[in-house]
């Protein structure tokens, strides 16, 4: 059987089974936004993400500094989705033998800007020869502590009765990619949302400090990411389409498709928080745009309802990294 039949999540599940549960110091292993590793009373958060040329970026559309920014930002986003503090990153570059040094330096300059913005140290890495350019970043952070225990936002923390909130408008990144592909200049606000995602790191930390139990970042598409929560928390989630925040830019550029882009587009690196409504309301001071878009119930799977309560769930919920193009 080939991996495209199994899909990304099927493959990860099989590999996790093969590895087994790991030692007790591994509090959280494969399957959450980041792994959690205990070290002398500290709880390290570990995650890695790769941007691959032709898959995640196209050199003629994505300026090199933005590729560097995003390579780090997507990892910061994973630490945010655990409620933690990113600290230090490693960078693994694959480069074609005739890559232009100016492009590599431009990519690193963007990465450095992102590192400065989120106070992450870049500690080193590895350079190898490859057919295509790729950038793998691994990041180490730490969990916030509450009475000596790590305060974590988990994918398996959703419970019936909880509500689902998002940190800001969705779909801008997917809209931005469409504009870039249509030749629209990269300084359009939607293009910027795609090229320079800014995960709301401090909101994740505030949520963890308040004891919010569940979160995920919007990377593969809202509905796909919520389907992950459903699987891991063993719940169902209903999303109200008319409550999903959509930016005026997106509505203007794509009046027909704005909702679909917001639901399945991905790469917004916004934060989805799930917990008791009164607890989430308490975060409004930190995140004025925090918007409740759905609720958790018993059952399984995610569904999208329109204003009249009709089920408008699309057949493809988002991005699977192993689905053939």
């Amino acid at each position: 059987m080939d991996i495209s039949q199994l899909g990304e999540f099927g493959l990860i599940e099989r590999l996790a089974q093969l590895l087994g549960p790991g030692p007790s110091r591994l509090l959280v292993g494969i399957g959450d936004d980041a792994a959690v590793w205990e070290m002398d009373g500290q709880f390290l958060l570990l995650t890695t993400d790769t941007l691959m040329e032709e898959v995640h970026f196209l050199p003629h559309l994505h300026p090199w500094p933005d590729v560097g920014w995003k390579a780090l930002a997507v990892n910061v986003s994973d630490i945010m989705a655990m409620g933690g503090v990113p600290e230090v990153a490693l960078v693994s570059l694959a480069l074609p033998p005739h890559a232009d040094i100016a492009h590599v330096e431009a990519m690193y300059e963007g990465l450095r800007q992102c590192a400065a913005t989120y106070d992450v140290a870049v500690a080193g890495g590895d350079v190898v020869r490859g057919e295509r350019t790729s950038v793998s970043v691994a990041i180490v952070g730490r969990a916030l502590l509450r009475e000596g225990r790590p305060s974590l936002l988990r994918r398996d923390g959703a419970k019936p009765g909880h509500v689902v909130a998002v940190s800001g408008p969705l779909g801008d990144s997917a809209g931005g990619l469409r504009l870039l592909m249509a030749g629209i200049y990269p300084d359009h606000p939607l293009a910027q949302a795609h090229l320079r995602p800014r995960p709301p790191l401090s909101l994740g930390q505030a949520a963890a400090q308040r004891g919010i139990p569940c979160a995920i970042d919007v990377s593969d598409g809202l509905l796909q990411d919520l389907a992950q929560i459903c699987r891991q928390s063993k719940v169902s989630i209903t999303v109200w389409a008319h409550h999903i925040p959509i930016s005026p830019h997106l509505r203007e550029a794509f009046p027909q498709d704005a909702l679909m882009l917001a639901c399945t587009g991905g790469e917004d690196y916004s934060l989805v928080l799930i917990g008791p409504e009164e607890e989430l309301a308490g975060l409004k001071g930190v995140a004025s745009q925090l918007t409740i878009i759905g609720q958790v119930a018993e059952g399984e799977g995610v569904r999208l309802l329109d204003q009249e309560g009709r089920d408008i769930t699309p057949p493809i919920l988002g991005w699977d990294h192993l689905r053939p193009p």
Copy 2:
């Protein structure tokens, strides 16, 4: 200018300059076998290494379980070369859409075996679509402590008067690759040295505990790796060819080339230790095969001398990851 003109070390130097020195918690940044990051009195060791199909392995020559083993082992080797304890690893896989799940599982099984051998937890990772298979492993370990300070083997710790020792025979891995390319079965001892390197982790830790100041693992070729030490320690190193340990297997398989393979072949993941002779002698109890092969002096660069004292340094010292094939 393209990166193949600059070379791997030239590129890394330029990227390191672009990033700047980093915060004070980054005790060791780009350029050593692993970075060192302070976290509440602990000193994390961080390193990453990638194995790329067609560059580091060929699917028709390298069995998948061995690719998995090696992907982790080369990272364990970097932690060994700092004198530390590897703890937890992340795995970033790139896979072609029609990769066979059985191959991916076989690779993970080899990785799991290596993790069990070296007591490393595999905490998670990332899967993306790629043209070719590649495996990036990032590993987090910790430094041993002496009176609250990290006890580290450094690349810049060599001083005139020190001697250079290696932990075991060199060149077996390069010889093994030649045999595999000639169609010799993978259970030949040289092929096994290539496919399943076993970095002597506990020797690195014993050396750090004894205060040995300098080490590197043999990954790119003995002379190339020693040239790194020369650059970073601002010293010269003389290696006596007739003292380099060479296995009977290698002598038998490649009587003409054994010395050249041992000096420039790389991928042995043996440990080179550099320090005062009497301190290194004290490690003989831990490593019976530890062999003194050279000495450190003022000056710069590495040279290889034969038994009559003639300079027989080859023009290419080892492997540069950005040199075109």
